[in-house]
Structures are given as C-alpha cells and as structure tokens.
Symmetry: D4
Subunit: 232 residues, 8 copies
C-alpha cells in the first residue's frame, strides 16, 4: 500500500500542496487567503478540489471569492466567517462540538471555527451572545454545554467566558481570544492572558482570532473519540 | 477659623507629616512601611498618634510591628493584612462597604482593604473564597451584594470576578488585581488587563495589590453619601 | 410581580437585547456602534426606543447617525462625543458629577462621559482645558471640584491630572486615560500607567478612551447616593 | 438523588472545600501548596482524604510534605514533580495520554502533568529528552506518538516541539511552555508565543509551567472518550 | 595609493554617498527607497551607477521603479523582492549561500536576501516552502543544506525552521524572522524571540523582515572565505 | 602642549582608566561599584585619587566602603546616596543646581545626584518631600525653583512632579524616574513613560534611578554657563 | 506691574490661550495642529499673532497651511519640518545650539527642532547625515561640536549617535529618538531605550519624534546662559 | 563506515548524550550546568570525557567545579567565564576569531565565548574595555579588527559597539547583548534591540548573555573556511 503521508503536488510555481497532510495530520491543507492574490487562491482551490474532492480557503475577501467562483462554480463564500468552501469532507458519525461566542463582535471568529468544523464532517452547534455580563443567558444552557464532546469558547475584551464555562461542566474547552475591544485590550492580548490564566480546569488556548486553529484542535479530539470507539 | 489644609509637621529629619491631609482629602496620611526602617515607622506612628489620635501603617513586617509596640503600647499588628493600627477614626453612621476575594491567596490584599476601611470608621463586611470557578458560591450571595454601597472585588489570575459581579448588581465596584498567579500572569498584569477590559458596567480599577488604594476610593464614596445625606 | 432581571428580546437575527439589564445593573444596554453596520445600529436603536422609551449608541459615525435618523426622527447625533441619543432617561434628583478634561484633544472622550451621564438622567457639569501645564487654571476651580459627588478626570500623555485633583479634594475620582499623545505614549499606555500608580488617594481607573465606562461608574455612585438617601 | 454539584465543606477557618467540583468538573479540587503554610496544606489534605478518599497537592516543598506526612502516614512526596499524593482516583479503562519533554530542565513540569494524570486514574506514558536539536530521537517514536489519545508536549526556550509533533501525527496536542531559558526567553514568554503561533494544526496551549493545567485538559479529553464510548 | 575609505559624494542637496563604504565594509551603500520620493531614488541610483558602475535600491514600489527607469534605462525591478537593480557587482568565485523560506508568505523577505546576495556577486540557491509542518520536505534536502557555506533561513509565525536546520547541519545560519502571522505573532516578535532562544547551535538573528541584513552577513562570511583562501 | 584627551592608565589587569575623560567630557571617570569586588573598588579609587587628586564610586555597599578606607584613609561613605568620595573637584563659581525629590523613598537617587554634583565642584541645593499629592508644599517654593540654573527632579510612581515644575518655571529640567512603586509601576517604567510624555516644555529624561546621569547632564549645563560667561 | 503669568485668552469656543506661558515658562504656547481642523489652526494662529506678535504651529499638513495663509498672509509653511511660522521672536544674543541628524529619514524631526529654536530667537546650526555607520563624517566635525552650548542629536534605529557624541565632547546633549526603522525598532522604542541606556555622560532624552520638545529644552538652557550672563 | 550522526548514550537515568552531535553539527554537546546538581554535572562530564576525550560545562558554580574535580582530576574551572573544561578539541589551523567587550562588566559573557572557542580548537584573541564612550581605544585597533575572520562583539546598556565595529571593517560580526545595565535596560532588552536595529551591515545577534551561542556561530564560520579551503 502506498504511503501518501509525504507526497506533494506543485501548483504552477507558487505553491506546493502537501497532499499527504490528511493521512498524516487527519485534516487536509487549507488555503490561507490573506497573503495571496485572488488568482492564486482560485488556482490553488481548483487544484485541491481536483485532487482531494473538496477545498477550503480562510480569511478570504469578496475578491478572492469572485476569483474562486470564476474557476469553480461550486465555490461558496460566507462573508461573516470569510470562508470559501468547495464541497465538504464526508459526514462523520459520533461526537458533537459546540461553539460559544460572548458577543456579536466575536461572530467572525466563531463562524470561522464552526464553518471549518462543519467542512471537516463534524456535527457542530452554535450558542452565541452568552457573554458574562448577562450571566443567566449562559446558565440557562448548562445542560447543553455538558452534553458536548468539546467546546470552543470565543471571547474578546477580558476573555472571562471560558473560565466560567470551565467551572460549570467537565468538557474540554478550546478558548479563542479575539481582538475585539479597545484601549488596554491591546489587540486581544488582554483576552489571551485572561484565558491562559484561567482559574478553571480544562481550558487550553489558541492564538488570537484563530477560529480555524480551534476547529483543528476540536476536530482532532472528535477524531480520537471515533478512532478509539472503533477499537474499544 | 484656621485653615489646616496646608499644614505640615516635621518628624525628626526624615519625614514631614501632611497634617492637613484629612481636611483636604478626607483621610489622614498613612505610613507606607515597606521603604522605612522599623525605628522610622515607630517614630512616625508615635508622632501621628500624638497629633491625630490614631495612626495606620501598611505593608509592615513583624519587625516594624515590634518597633511600633516598643514606643506605642496600643499598636496592634495583623500579619495577614500587614497593617499596624494605633486606635481608629471615629465610627461613621450610614453606608456599607463589602470586600470580596476570589481565593485564599488574595486574602492579604483583601484584608488590607477591609482593615483600612474599618480603621477609617466605615462599616465593612467580608465575602471570601467566591471565585468564578465555583460560581454558585457567588450566586448564593447576590442579595447581599446588591445591598451594599460599594464593593471592593479582589482577584488574581484572570481577574474575572469583578466582571461577574458587575453584571449581577448595580453597585459601584472597585476592582483590585492581585499578583497571585504564575507564568503569563506576569505579576498581576493579566488580572489588571482583564479588569480594565471588563465587559460589565460600573467597574473601575486600582493598581495591582493595592488594597489600601481601593479602601481610599470606597471611603470617598461612602463619605460623599454621608455628606450629601446631611444636605438633601 | 414579574422579575424582568433576566429577560431578553431578539432583534432580527443579529442581536438579542438584554432587557433586564436596567433592573439588574441600574442602566440599560447601550449600542456599541463601532462594530456594527449603519442599518444594524438603526434597527437596534429603534427596537430599544420602542421597548425602553429611549436609547443610546456610542462610537457612532455620521453614517450610523444618518441610518438612525432614517428610522427614528428624534435621533440626535453629536459628532464630538460620537453619541446618538434617542430621548433620555428621567431626570434624577440629587447628586452632581463633574467631568474634567486636560486638553482639547481629550474632548471626545470627556464628552462621551458627560453625554452618557446626562442621558442617564444625572446632573453633570464640565470643566475643560485644565491640564497641569497651566496649573492655575485648575487651582482657581478647587471649590467647585470639592462641591461635586464624583469627578471624572480625562487626560492623555502623562495622565497626571487625576493625581493632582486627588490631592486637592476628597471626592471619588474616576480617571480616564486617553490615547492622546505620540511616541512613547504607546496609544494611551503611558497615561493608563500614570493613573494606576497615582500617589493621590481616591483615584480608580477605567480603560483607555472609555468615557462611557467612567460614566457608568459615576452613575452607580450617584445612584447609591440616591438609594441610601431614601433609606437613611 | 442528592445533587452534590454545589456542596462545600469548611476546613478550620482558612479554606472551604468545593466538594461538588468532581461532580461538576470531572475532577476534584487540588491543593495549590505554594501560597499555603505546611500546616494548612497538611490540614486540607487530611480533610480532603477523609471526604474524597484521596487528595493531591501541587508545587509542594519538602516542608509541606513533612507536615502532610505528620497527619497522613500514606502521603507520598515526589521532589521532581513537587506533588504530594494521598491515594489515587480509581483506575480508568480506555485512553492513553503521552507526556513529551524537550529537555531535562523541563522535567518538573512534565512530571507534574504525568503525576496528576496518573493520580486521576488515567494511563500515562512518558517520552523525555526528545528536543528538536536532536530530531532523530523524536522521529524514531512517531508510531508511539500516533498511537496516543492525547499528547502533552512540554518545552522551553523557543518552544518548537509541539509544532513538530503537530505536523507528524493527528492527535490533539496540549502544549506547555516552560520558563526554561534565559535572556530573551523572558520567563517562558518566548516558548508561549512560539506555541500560540504554531504553524501546525491541532495545538492548543496552557499557561507557562502549568503541568497541572495540561493534565486537566488531557483528563477531560480522555473522560469524553470514555463517556461517549459507553454511549455509542 | 589613495585611501577611499572615508570619501563622500554629494547628490543634489538631499543625500551624501558614502563612497568609501565598499573599501571599508566590503559592500557599497544601498538605497533604502521606503523613506524617499521616486525622484530622489532615481537621482541617487543614477549617481551611484555613474560612480560605482552598479546600484541597488530596496523596499521600492512600482512608482520608485518607474522613476528609476526614466533616468536609467537598465534599471530592473522585481515586485516580489521589491529590489531595483542597476547592473551588478562582478561575479565572485568560491562559496555558496542558500536561502530557505518556511512558507510562501515569507517569499518577499527571502527574495530580498537572495537578490541582494546575487547583486553582490555571490552564488546563491533557493529552497522554499520547507516549513516545519511538512517536515519531510525539509529532511529530503539535508545533503544540499550541508553542502552550503552559509544558510539564510526565513520564517514567520513561531520561527522554528532555523532551529531545525541548526540541529541537522554544521553550517552557519542567519535567521530572519518575518512579520508573517497574526494575533500573538505581534508583528514578528514571536518569530524573533523563537529564533533568539533557539536550542540549536550556530544560529544568529537579524531584524524582523530584514532580508537585506541577512544578505550582508552572508556576504561577509563568503568574503572572508575568499580572502582567507587567497592567504592560506 | 600635550593632548591628554585620549590617554589611558592600566590598573592591575582588571581596569584601564580613561585619563583623558575629563579633558574630553568635562568630568572624570567614576567607579561603578555594583559590578566590582570591594578590593577592585579600593584599588581603582586609590589609583584614581593618585592620578587625579580625587575620586568617586557610585552604588557602593558598606563592604566596598570598608575596602576603600583600608587603602585610602580619606575615603568617605554615605549610606543613603551609596557614594564613596575621596576628596572633591575644585569649587566652581557661578551656577546653581537644585535637586527635588517627590517622596522619602526617592532620596537615594536624589542624593546620588546631589552628591555627585557637589563632588564635581558645583553649588547644589536640595528640596525634598514636595510630591504632587501635597501640592502646596511645592507651590510655596516656586521662587526658589525659578532662581536655579538647572533643576533635577526625582520621582517614582506616576512621575508627575517634573511636569508640574516644568509648567511653573522656565529652568531646564532633568527628570529622573525612580523604581519606587509596586504593581503596575513595573520597576519605574510608569514614571519613565510619564516623564517622557510630559505635557510641560523643558523636560528631558535620564534612565530609571540614574541620579548620577542626571548630575552629569546638570554639570554640563552649568559648565557651559561658566565657559560662555568667560567668553561673553 | 501686572503679573501676566496666569492670564488666559479665549479663542472662539474651542481654545483658551495660556497668555502667561511666556512669562512663566520662557516660551509662548504653540499650536499642535495634528488634532485640529485647518480652520481651528488658522483661527488660533491669527489670535496668537494678534496677541503675541508671532505664532508657531507644529505637525501641520499642507491643508493646515492653506487655511493659515487664508487668514494670515505672512504665514510660512515648511513641508519637511511641518511647521507653520508667523513671524518670529526677537533675535537673542549669545548661545549656539547645534542639531545633528543621523540619517536623511530623521530630517523631519531634526528640522522641527531647528525651526522651533530659530523661531524662538536662538542661533542654530545643522549637521546632518552623520550616522555612526560612517563614523569619519562625524569625527571630522568634533571641533564644531565642542564649540556649541547645547547639542540636539536626532537618530532612529539603534539610536547610538548621542552616545558617540557624548563621549567626544563636554556639551549637554538632548537626544531625540525617531520612529525611523522597522521590525524590532517597534516605532522608535529601540532608539529610545538605546538613548536612555547611553554609557556616555551628559545625555538626556525626550519623547520619540519630539523635535519640538528637544527645542524647548535647548531653549531653556540657552535662556539660563543669557540670564546668568547678565547677572555674573 | 558507521554513521554516528544519530547515536545516543544514556548517562545513569537523568541524561542521554547526543553522541552524534559532533558529526552532525560540527561541535559536541555541552553541559548546561545551571539546571543540574553538582553530582549530575560531574557524572555527565565524566561520561563525555570518556566517550569524546574532552568535555565542557557552562554556567558552572564553584560547587559544580568541585564535584567535577572529584571525579575528573583534570577538570579546570574558570570563575569568570564559569566554564569547566576537561581537555580540549584538537587545535585547528587557519582562521582567527576576535572577541571584543565594551566594559569590564561584560567580561563573563565575553570569556564564555572566548573560552568555548578555544576549547573547540580555534585561535581566539581578546580585545576588552573598548566601549564607545572612549572611542579612541577602539579606533586604535581597527587594523587588528580588519585582520580577523569573525568578530564576537559583547556589550550591554545601549549595545552600540557592534554597530560601530560593523561600520569600520568588513568582517562578519556576531553581536552578544548582555544584561549589564539597570532601569530601562530591562535585563538586556535595550542592548538586544539596539543590536537588532543596527544601521551597520554585517551584524547578526544571539540571545542576551549567550556567549556560548556566539562561539558556536563563530566556530561554524571558521569551520566552513577550513572545509572550503581544503576544497578550493
């Protein structure tokens, strides 16, 4: 049987697909659109879709989306999450991720996480606008929180939401600080430090605004759950 | 009538008491023991007690306390708050300050605040070990919180407690970040930033570990309440 | 009697009003316009005004204002404070807040504080251009300062004004650092640190440029004063 | 059936056990020894052991251990991990956590993580001294890495190890930066930033030197795996 | 023989060429275009080319390039490296520099380094898209890496690539952190700290995005190699 | 006439006196004791005194002083300023420097400045305990302040004193931030930033706790005054 | 004789001139244009010119200049220093300031300093493009440097120039860090720290890019020199 | 022929020697004593010496040295560089490294670099006390500087020395910032930033106080020179 784990595929002369990434890391390579031209994003997505059957670009602008649709009629763009999706990975059984967001300004990051999880075949549910200033909105959802396999908790400003959730349920929490805030939030540093210093157990943290990174962690957790399930 | 607001009093050659401070600022000068020798602290406390009838030193070590008791039999030292008290200001009617602390490690700062408020003649109650990881301890005290004139909320690590309290009641909150924590708490910076970026209204912040500073703010608020009460 | 403290109201699908906030926190929810489209701001203000009888948006641009006026004829925009006001809360008896600003560049933040206090029904007076480089301007107003219930003191650069005021009078001071300055002011960090390290008693601090936050603290202080007055 | 989730137990007057924590958070409360006296640590451990059947203290010194052994003959101290263990939670079936450490200086943090996981009943294996400067040591263990349910990866200095591991296998990685290093490592900041900015997917981060925090995250992941296993 | 080491040449009134720089420092002065108008860049390049036979401008925009071509037909602009080249220094025998880049976003910096080395007469080869998340791409090139006289290694985000390379071969490594990344990469600070704290020997670091600076270091190393070769 | 500006003198094998420093820089070299052994400090002071007729060591401990007195009977140690003086430079006519200190904790730095100025032959007067929290102490000295040639203003915490003084008189001000404070004073950073961002004209700043550095600046100003006086 | 030291003059409703500033601080108030509209700058300059006979605005854009010229025909704008000058203060006898700049990118800041000094009536000479990478350019001017009363030394990047100059001559040096640089220059922080930590005596520092602030310090030094000259 | 590049050797149970490091990286593994007990350092040195014929420990205390000498009579300790040497690598022909230090406080770091280079078999010369405040000391050595193959330049405070040297000669410069300084030197950050922002070409930087790291870079440069020499 061929080992595809270290195979690559050259796209024109500006990119080399890491074709083996899915076999190795459990997840295909995505296109980070922010540092690429619309034409480059279109070309890489097309090659990926041809090779893998589906493709995803993150941090895409409408211009990226337009270039993608010019070469891939099935490309779908969502302006909030800034994702361009071409198809999706096969639906996976077992496991549920929930994405929480503290405020409406945190939605782009939360939707990037939720959209990527969905694209990867996972079941994902959203719970938004449950920030700590209106505590009872959150408390009314404790049972749903407890009935999840992994929680992605997105918050800016002081970033207290993951701490609260971590004190209420026993589910692993991936905390995502956002750059929402002003003044001494210092571009998300305040929320990042708050989450790293959480006094609640079970909270780990990804980079500021890194919805995709949180999705990758949650996907790996759900993936282990399915792998082990087969083995138990 | 003499205006004492700008009067000073020389203690040996190492200190000059700002005798007018109480008239001007509503509160006498205190002795910050940390940068003084035991003998200096003893001498200044003695002069203050003679001049004002009472005196308070903060951040005092047992050595400071011993030197104080050598010259002032009535000096009382509390090793948790690190306060040396000589007498107290007259009891004041009206107004209640509550001091909250998230964890037991925050007690020295909380006690510095509570002790200073008490020394200044205010009514003060304590509510400790109500950190956000055990949310229901806090929620069971909401009515007490609401029935206060000012809340001093002391917390380290991610500093989320003032935000939670600020979302539950309408009382002014003086938040005190502590240097409790390690790693990315950076000596209290994490809690400080969390409190400054609080998404709850009504929260203002003093310096890290500054229990005395919080007491001064709370004392001024209670003082206005009493002054205006007389005037209404 | 119905407890409105934990009631919410959905606005289209992009916002959920925390209707119980006033009962709980003594102040209705405001609209932070900066992260919303003009249409969203207009819609939320309209819903708030219908539900609460008045509404306020902060950090609004002229475009936000235009969209608000399109749906609410009585919406009033002030380009300095960047507030959109729709009506106001009932006038409240008793208590006076004074807002000080060090320089003309600090006016937007000071006016946000003053405008929000006024909207909330409080009596507020302004004292501007009293920075420490022209000390006698400030000293000529000491009696007015002393005759206030709470002082909001707004300053950028080195942020020394709250310290000066705190040394002159016994009123609680809410200090607001502004991002005014350049170079090593690091976006207001210099003023923020200066205020947190104030050597004067009675000073607490809110986030950089957070005029609204200072108003919320002052409003809570004045509110306690009125509540207790009734009770004494 | 009684709900123990919000039950507390007072220990003398200096601590209140959060007895419901295990029911709520899937893990009992631990004793953070660093900020407590030897006597306090001994007393709390004794009460915990009496109440829960086992107990764990972290960041303990030999003096803490001695005080613990004076009241609890079965207390066991490990000077590397600085853990005091009294008994252990019941062994749990299913799931394997592996703890990696880059260098010998990272062992105290790695052992804190491994010891806590073991105490909580999990199966845990260690893989130490696999830093990136000797890459082939790591590469010779790829199959073991892939055959784990969660990886805790501990590293100081530039903190590159989690990135490398994240590129090789599809298992969720909890990265722990350590304060090992000097100069521009700034007490672990360098490793922390390196891990947060990891270009590999599936990496989330806990606070500097927080071995216990990583264990809590891994424990929650293993716990979900077991819970869902029962349900599938 | 005249000593040109301290000779200067005035260009209009806005610049003074340090004509002796090549004799003194082994490399002529370059034009840093970023802070100059197109016309100034054109005029200085023309004067340099007239005086030295060749010239190089860095960080040039298309507008700079157009102005340069208006006065110097032979000026060549490369939009990726942002270099304007007029001729080149004589080809030099002996010595090979290799430039590695972790990802496609790092290309502008890598190309600035490679282009400047080439302009200075050195033999330079490129090896791009060999980031640590796809480790086997890098490992398949170890022999080429070892067969170089100096390696310039360009990476953003966590900046782990120089550490990996430094552990694999015995060649001096000039590490260049790039500002590629977001959130807690803090404009390249994360990669910079990662490289400074490298646990691999033989790595030194230049400023963030400073491809030219790395080229200057590599050029000096190659130059010594040629000088000493003549002498041995 | 011999040019002594670039002459050096070897002391054993651990130091080389820059004998020409006074001719070149208007001030002899001083001994920074902090990083030297008592014996080294004694030996260098002895050599300096022999060569220049006088000598000064800064940041000296009692142990340094004892070693100095063992070889130089006339060495005088002051424990507050931590200076060891051996003789002094000739008294200079004309010019007066005044050193201000905000609080008693700032005295070591202020005394280092005052002592060094005195050693260099300048007339210096002290004005201590004039911090901004007791504004009238400062205001009562405005005429003295105005009647100085240069002011050294020493303050910690928020560092507001130089700004105040700069607004009152037209004398050049050398501001010295001290590391006095705690929490968010971050070792003097708060005072440093406050002084750099001073809104008053005529303020320049030296390093934190650098009393000697301020004395050197003031000495150069007084020196110019005397030089020019001769020339006018 | 009237004391004008604390007199003010209202300009429309947006500014209040501190008319007494010259009497008090030795220098009139300037207009900081950056935070004002063209019309406001024009109006304040007109009022100042009417009241004081001359006026200066800093950080002015061409739009500010146009508005100024519309109301004041004699307003002169210099696009490099960004100063708008209306007349000038009377020429002053005695004293020479020299302004040094390390590179051409530092000219705007150097010219702001030189232009302001000239406006204030001082004699000022310029010495530009004398950065440390071409050391002999600087060394060839040592005699001129020594023959100055005060030196303003402007530099970005590593900010080493003031240290070099401070080691060569005995004149007081006002160092001005500029935000010139990239990457780890962090907007001038690198140069600022370099200057504050200068190992040469006689260097004090003003804020990043603060040419005007340096001019104010130099003007005060020259002013003392003239005052004392009259008195000697 | 056996490939030793990936061979390891276990020392008791606390360390695993990377025996292949010399073959791979051109330099054996060293013992970083700071985080090890005296006994561990002795045991590892003994094993290394047995296996490789020589060994080196860095950052060693006298206690480490004593333990080493107890097991290895030929171990030599130098208290300034804090190196323990057991034998040395064979002398290598060709190539000269020079180590410069700005001040006497920088000697420990400079000696660590020089001692390690010497141990590795290289020819190394020292040039100390050539800081920029006494510029002519440095200038009198320019010919020696130019006649070197690589320069290690060690400096604290503002870290300007590498910039100066880089402007004078064409040799590659490895800059080492030291933590020498106080206040705003922030533990060497000031020197580090100064060196990274050097305006002179050919300067690269290692971590603060990292003398050993600089030696490794210089050793690799000299090694290439010798390798290529054989090949030319």
């Amino acid at each position: 049987m061929t080992d595809h784990r270290h195979e690559y595929d050259q796209v024109d002369d500006f990119a080399r697909l890491d074709v083996g990434r899915e076999a190795r890391q459990g997840m295909p390579e995505f296109v980070y659109a922010e540092s690429k031209t619309p034409e480059q994003v279109g070309a890489i997505l097309a090659r990926m879709a041809a090779r893998l059957g589906c493709a995803l670009a993150t941090r895409a602008t409408p211009a990226h989306a337009e270039a993608a649709r010019a070469v891939l009629a099935e490309a779908v763009y969502d302006p909030i999450s800034r994702l361009i999706r071409v198809g999706a990975m096969p639906r996976l059984e077992g496991g549920l991720a929930r994405v929480l967001a503290a405020g409406t300004s945190d939605l782009p990051v939360a939707e990037e996480a939720a959209g990527a999880l969905d694209f990867l075949g996972n079941r994902v549910e959203r719970l938004y606008d449950v920030g700590v200033a209106g505590l009872h909105r959150l408390l009314s959802h404790v049972d749903e929180l407890a009935d999840s396999d992994v929680l992605i908790v997105v918050a800016g400003m002081e970033g207290a939401l993951p701490t609260l959730v971590g004190g209420l349920v026993d589910v692993p929490i991936v905390a995502v600080p956002t750059s929402v805030g002003y003044g001494a939030s210092f571009g998300g540093l305040s929320a990042l430090l708050g989450m790293l210093n959480s006094c609640a157990p079970g909270v780990s943290v990804v980079n500021i605004d890194n919805g995709l990174g949180a999705a990758a962690v949650a996907h790996r957790i759900l993936r282990q759950l399915r792998k082990r399930h087969a083995r138990f």
